[in-house]
């Protein structure tokens, strides 16, 4: 079986006034249909640029240096804008961090949701349904995201709804085209912890019920662990470790993954002393030579400065890119 999403040796440069940002440095990610992948990393690691590249909404001036993104046997980087329109929001859709920013404050939810339904019909060359039918479809979409009083919500304006409710509506919009792949960029970061738990549960249900494939991006390891079967850990534009979530979280092999997990205080109590990763994230205009993590790595040796580590397999579904990975 071929993967639904296959990112191969993807390199992306972004020219800026100060120089060229080498923002993605050879990304390899594979994801099967119905699977869930969490991409975790700190700010500036390139996770959002990667997610946006999958949807063809990356920075306009970004230059692909090598590699490709293949989705459902289509090479996305070669698509024309007209072809993109049949994929973006239809086969691949996306939800974002701040649900308020992405809703028009002047229009009702019903109007905005109905616009999306109409757009999908037009994009697929189908006749636009009558108003009653459109409303029925909107109600159906809201039910799918477990909103009970659909009639009230359809008549509401965004400011009349809570953050959790707004995120549900964005998810409903994202589902309108019956996508195969949903990209969720920090979907719970702006929400309170109790609401966050509800949204994560909803996404989990959608994966189970609709067989949705999800790529979730977050800096929050907890949120990633709650949803994703597989995890990719990113650092400074590279995937340092990737595989089954359980394996990566309980047996991390890359020094950065270890550091990241050790830096997290545990809600269950102090089972381990907190550890900080020394130093700060590198400047991607002049990234460190060899392994990009070496200046902050406790295990770094000469080879780490000279040679970029190969990604190698160390388990059934567990790869790591490190010269001195833990056993």
């Amino acid at each position: 079986m071929t993967a639904l999403l296959n990112i191969e040796n993807y390199r992306l440069d972004i020219p800026t006034f100060d120089g060229v940002l080498k923002v993605l440095d050879g990304i390899d990610i594979k994801l099967d249909q119905g699977d869930t992948l969490g991409i975790v990393g700190e700010s500036g690691c390139g996770k959002t640029v990667l997610a946006r590249s999958i949807l063809g909404i990356g920075p306009r001036n970004a230059k692909r240096v090598s590699g490709q993104i293949v989705f459902d046997a289509t090479a996305l980087d070669e698509l024309s804008e007209a072809e993109w329109r049949r994929i973006r929001g239809v086969k691949i859709s996306m939800i974002f961090q701040d649900p308020m920013t992405y809703l028009n404050p002047l229009l009702t939810i019903g109007r905005q949701l109905s616009d999306v339904v109409v757009a999908h019909h037009r994009a697929q060359g189908m006749q636009v349904p009558a108003k009653a039918e459109r409303l029925a479809r909107c109600g159906q979409l809201l039910e799918q995201v477990q909103i009970a009083d659909t009639q009230r919500v359809l008549k509401s304006y965004p400011h009349q709804l809570s953050g959790g409710m707004r995120q549900r509506i964005l998810i409903a919009m994202a589902l309108a085209g019956e996508p195969k792949l949903l990209i969720a960029d920090e979907p719970t970061t702006a929400l309170d912890v109790t609401i966050q738990a509800q949204i994560l549960k909803l996404l989990r249900d959608l994966v189970d019920r609709l067989g949705l494939t999800v790529v979730m991006i977050s800096h929050d390891v907890g949120a990633i662990a709650a949803l994703s079967r597989r995890v990719a850990v990113m650092y400074a534009g590279t995937v340092v470790e990737q595989g089954e979530a359980e394996s990566i979280l309980t047996r991390p092999r890359h020094p950065y993954t270890r550091g990241l997990l050790a830096a997290l205080p545990d809600i269950e109590g102090a089972t381990h002393p907190l550890e900080a990763i020394p130093g700060t994230i590198p400047n991607l205009i002049t990234p460190p030579t060899g392994c990009r993590f070496h200046p902050r790595c406790p295990r770094a040796t000469a080879i780490c400065r000279q040679q970029k580590p190969e990604t190698r397999s160390i388990g059934a579904d567990h790869v790591v890119a490190c010269h001195h990975a833990f056993d």
Binding site: E42, S43, D192, V193, T194, Q196, A197, L200, H219, V221, G222, A223, A225, A226, A245, E246, L249, T250, R251, P252, G259, L260, L261, A262, A263, L264, P265, D266, I267, E268, G269, A270, T271, H272, L274, E275, A276, I277, T280, I281
Partner: protein, 274 residues
């Protein structure tokens, strides 16, 4: 002290006279002719050298409590006692003198520093406002403070935009401890930072407390951080305290339904066996 009997259990646990105690704090905001009780009859106290955490979701009133304690906003009713002095009764010069004993660090270090002032200027400001320290002595103080927060002395010539988020937060902490306050109010000091930087700041705060004999009032929505850092905790919901007590007790056996829900909502991360 007959009122001791009526105080929440957390005060009894603190034993000796607390450094900070707030009693029956209430804040009513008026918006569009409507009353909104942001904080409703909140009492709490922090013992000398202790760390009290206030947790709650957005809108719970936790930051409003912090600001009332600092007298950055005036409580509608209630009192704040600092080391036996009634802070709410003070005005003018007396209040200004009290303020050097209590300092606040805000959530977003990027907006807490004036972009047109150097780091040196930012750290020197409390001395200019509160003391007669000037000239080479002031220079020496600034360098000492940079040293305390583990930043190089040369940083005093830099501007905020040249620093990372974690470095800026250290500068804000340096400025807050400049006048050797006794109480530090930390309002979500790590929420804008990445986890590896958050760990640096938390460890640094723990170390700083021991070195400078500080007392912390720590406001956060991050329960894991609160559990890690605080001796006692106050849980707020919709402006009121729903539960308070020693951190371990509250997290291990929460008695209030909302506290339980809050703790259960935090996704658990599978941990390495070791």
């Amino acid at each position: 002290m007959s009122s001791l009997a009526t105080m929440p259990s957390i005060e009894a646990a603190a034993g000796a006279k607390p450094l900070l105690s707030a009693r029956h704090l209430t804040k009513v905001f008026h918006t569009g002719g409507q009353e909104f009780r942001a904080v409703d009859d909140v009492s709490l106290s922090v013992g000398h050298g202790k760390v009290l955490g206030i947790v709650g979701e957005s809108g719970s009133g936790k930051s409003t409590v912090a600001r009332m304690v600092m007298r950055l906003i005036e409580p509608t009713s209630g009192t704040v006692m600092f080391d036996g002095d009634d802070l709410t009764a003070k005005t003018g010069e007396a209040l200004r003198r009290m303020r050097r004993n209590m300092q606040i660090v805000f959530q977003n270090p990027h907006s807490a520093l004036n972009p047109r002032d150097t780091i040196g200027d930012a750290i020197a400001e409390p001395f200019l406002v509160q003391t007669r320290v000037r000239g080479s002595e002031l220079d020496r103080k600034v360098e000492e403070l940079l040293d305390i927060v583990s930043l190089p002395k040369t940083f005093k010539y830099r501007y905020p935009h040249e620093l990372s988020g974690g470095q800026k937060q250290r500068v804000c902490i340096a400025r807050a401890v400049a006048l050797e306050p006794r109480l530090l109010v930390l309002d979500e000091p790590t929420s804008a930072l990445d986890v590896s930087v958050q760990a640096q700041i938390i460890m640094f705060l723990q170390d700083l407390r021991a070195r400078l004999n500080l007392t912390y009032l720590f406001i956060s929505h991050n329960l894991a951080v609160v559990r890690h850092l605080c001796d006692d905790v106050v849980v707020m919901n919709k402006g009121a305290v729903v539960e308070s007590g020693p951190t371990e007790a509250v997290f291990k056996s929460p008695r209030n339904a909302y506290t339980r829900q809050l703790i259960e909502s935090v996704p658990r991360i599978p941990r390495p066996a070791s």
